[in-house]
């Protein structure tokens, strides 16, 4: 049990009468890239929002490093080292790429309630921010407003920002959604690189994207876990094939 970092037990979420996530058990092992996949409407994003506390579960518990975190606020979860990304790329649009990363680095100071101090104290984070931007290939865009970056670069910036808070665990919500093929490869490579010493749980729609990337895959359909295992196991599973083919060609 010691190598399980994040686990969800009997996780259930219903909206009115509709059960979006139904009694899901999920155990993410330390150091792995764990993918949560499933067809549209399978409850992936709901599940994801439950794990990051942006939604409150109807039933079930979530624990991180053995501590029950079910009742904690999203900001406090982030402070424990679980940082999420968003499906729609989440940047601070009217700040430059460098400032975006600095906002995250600024968390090292603890809370920034010091409104009487000049923001020049933030200059200390510039070098670290530049290094992170270089890591994701955004060096030359450091002074460009995030709103003016292309979609793929916004996602890269988001990853740099996430890495800046140095999380133990990253939760990525469809990091490759709506991306051109070249960007998909770049971001896949990036995810592989940042997974060293970190645990990643990513939600993806597309099975092929996660095939080479993830250690463990959980397939979700209609709010339930259909199958779990590595790509070879999952892709041969009859129920998984049916869920996907049934959706795509049925």
């Amino acid at each position: 049990m010691n190598d399980v970092l994040l686990s969800a037990t009997n996780l259930t979420k219903s909206f009115g009468g509709f059960v979006a996530v139904d009694d899901v058990n999920l155990h993410v092992k330390r150091g792995q890239i764990h993918a949560l996949i499933g067809p549209n409407g399978a409850g992936k994003t709901t599940c994801f929002n439950l794990l990051t506390k942006f939604l409150t579960p109807t039933h079930g518990t979530i624990s991180y490093k053995g501590h029950d975190i079910t009742a904690m606020s999203p900001a406090d979860i982030a402070r424990l080292g679980i940082v999420r990304s968003f499906q729609i790329s989440a940047v601070f649009p009217h700040l430059t790429a460098l400032e975006n990363v600095c906002i995250a680095l600024q968390r090292q100071r603890g809370d920034s309630f010091d409104f009487w101090r000049s923001q020049k104290v933030l200059l200390q984070f510039n070098d670290e921010a530049c290094a992170l931007l270089e890591d994701v290939g955004l060096s030359e865009f450091r002074d460009v407003h995030a709103a003016d970056l292309s979609y793929g670069r916004k996602r890269a910036l988001e990853i740099a920002t996430t890495l800046a808070v140095d999380p133990d665990m990253l939760l990525l919500d469809e990091p490759m959604a709506g991306m051109a093929q070249a960007d998909v490869e770049r971001i896949s490579e990036l995810i592989r690189r940042i997974s060293v010493n970190r645990t990643i749980l990513m939600v993806e729609h597309n099975l092929s994207v996660v095939a080479t990337l993830s250690d463990t895959i959980s397939v979700l359909a209609r709010g339930k876990v259909l199958a779990e295992g590595d790509y070879a196991t999952v892709s041969q599973d009859a129920r998984v094939i049916e869920a996907y083919i049934g959706e795509d060609h049925g």
Binding site: S112, L123, T161
Partner: protein, 327 residues
Amino acid sequence: MSIMNETKSASFAVHDKQASLPRHHAVIFIGLLAAGLIAPFLLAPIFVMKVLCFALFACAFNLLLGFGGLLSFGHAAFFGSASYVSAHAAKVWGLTPELAILCGTLSALVLGVVIGALAIRRQGIYFAMVTLAFAQMVYFFSLQAGFTGGEDGIQAVPRGDLFGLLSLNSDLVLYFVVFAITAAGMLLIYRIIYSPFGQVLKAISMNEQRAVSLGYRVNRYKLTVFVLSATLAGLAGATKAIVFQLASLTDVHWSMSGEVVLMTLIGGVGTVFGPIVGAAVIVTMQNYLATFGAWVTIIQGVIFVFTVMLFREGIVGVISKALKKPF
């Protein structure tokens, strides 16, 4: 194509030092300082003092709306209640003007904590409605409570002696005191905007969910900026009571909350200097068009519609866009 544009703008900005303050702001501040020092010799000091008080009020409001992304429809509550407390302290308690202003400002701070703590639980239009509801409560309290003088307000407030030494009965002497107070208030607001706190605040107003996911407890930041804004609005109201020797229901009326929104929008919301320009425009209109009576309100309305239709960024916002520099 988009890649080319990005590269181009990147090379333009590459020498901008991150986190260093825009240098032209210092020039504008010096210009404003000079203008403020000669203004009372060219214009009626009482008129310029009115502009200063409202400029500070609008800047305080803009701190909340332009940089915190929070639209309050109840800022008259802070402006007005501070004005009452300041007037009461000077007249009934016989405090010196600086202490009276301090009392008024602190009362706005306390009120800001109470109203802010409840209002920030809601977002968008609901936040605005909650602040409006509280401001209406403050208005009816002011109408009924004994010490406010009801319909009459608190009149003939003594200007007193600054620190018990310097008589403020001369408009010119009072002017420089008011100028010092508003300048200090505005410099504080400027510092807040360009502080580590201000950076987080801007981030929250741009993408609250993302700020949460990075571990920022956003409600605490929102409450802090709300209280700061309320306190500075209170400073403006408290000073205004000493200048005009009057605190009245006008100061707490909802139309005062509307007026500060108008000033900020006309000047340019989210700009540093816009609210000062907006306040100057509105106060000038009210003063010099006073002979038109009720028409002033209609003229204001027309200007407001024009602003929203033609230049939504406000006067300073448009200039800022044209010159590609933040003002």
